[in-house]
Symmetry: D2
Subunit: 110 residues, 4 copies
């Protein structure tokens, strides 16, 4: 992922409650394109089930969709690490590490 | 999952090339309902990204969607095992085990 | 895996309580060799920790060991499917499928 | 994990080539105890295989060992994040993030 693609900024208000992440237009477009494709895959799977497609072939489509969704998760994690996590650690806020550990755990469990 | 829910039949033509899996109406409805919900989750994630939601919160939604998709994969695997795999092994066709190993591998890699 | 390598037989006593799996000498040797190597990897990791090795390098060794252990799990699952599962399904005992689903689930969660 | 337990320091020489991670005596002891237990589990699995234990029961032991090894991996990742990653980001070295992404990826693939 080029630095331009991960160009992202992280905003937190003073009490740390309202946070937002601004992705560059390129990154947003990339993520939305991927999510549109995943939406199409899900619709495809529904149609396979309705047409009584052999279940092993349906499972193959499920795992392709899981892989695509995992890629989106990894891109978001990468953007998060490179922006919010780095920024907040540089600001001396090490609590972000607790949050990050929970997030990584969650992505690992799947 | 009740036996009624997994009630599924497996059809293969003589040369084994055209196979199909017929799920009962209940199972189909269950799977399609789950996939509709996943489609909604994907659309929700797109909207979170467009609204600059904090990336850690987006990742949380991604892992919820991954969990939902995994459940569909497991239901399909269960149906597959209980119908096609059992039927074909009882018919003396042990090649289904090779296919099954590839499928399980694929679901494990995610 | 050659058929010779997976040559395994499955024994269950009448009430289904005392079950055993007899692997061929080749398979046993293969599995024990792999497990010996994993034991060596674990000892290696302990020594890395005691020598204050950079933690990222230790984690790399951990994931290599995880991969080796997963391979043993997959070999055992394959042997199990090709012997006990096939035999018991052919004997009309479909309860093995419930057990198998739990096992696959467990290996997937890791 | 208490802060005392993760008390770890990270050393890199000037050209960044010789790095080391010093865990506190408590953390070392905790990690080594866990690894000793895992070594015992591996030896136990070998003995199960040699005694022709039912393969599903062996697989159960494999997944318990995988879980124990994953825990060690997570503890090391946590220590790594809280020490080396935080220190190096605070020193302005963002390359650690590239390394970290590779490491997380590796732990996710398992």
């Amino acid at each position: 992922m080029s630095s331009e693609e991960t160009n992202q900024s992280c905003h937190t208000n003073e009490n740390g409650e309202h946070r937002s992440s601004h992705h560059s237009e390129n990154v947003k477009k990339n993520l939305v394109t991927r999510l549109n494709r995943i939406e199409g895959q899900i619709r495809g799977i529904k149609s396979l089930i309705e047409k009584d497609t052999y279940c092993d072939d349906v499972i193959t489509q499920i795992s392709a969709t899981q892989a695509a969704l995992n890629s989106v998760g990894k891109l978001l994690l990468e953007g998060h690490l490179r922006s919010c996590v780095v920024e907040r650690i540089q600001d001396g806020d090490e609590e972000i590490v607790d949050e990050l550990l929970v997030t990584i755990q969650r992505l690992m469990k799947k």
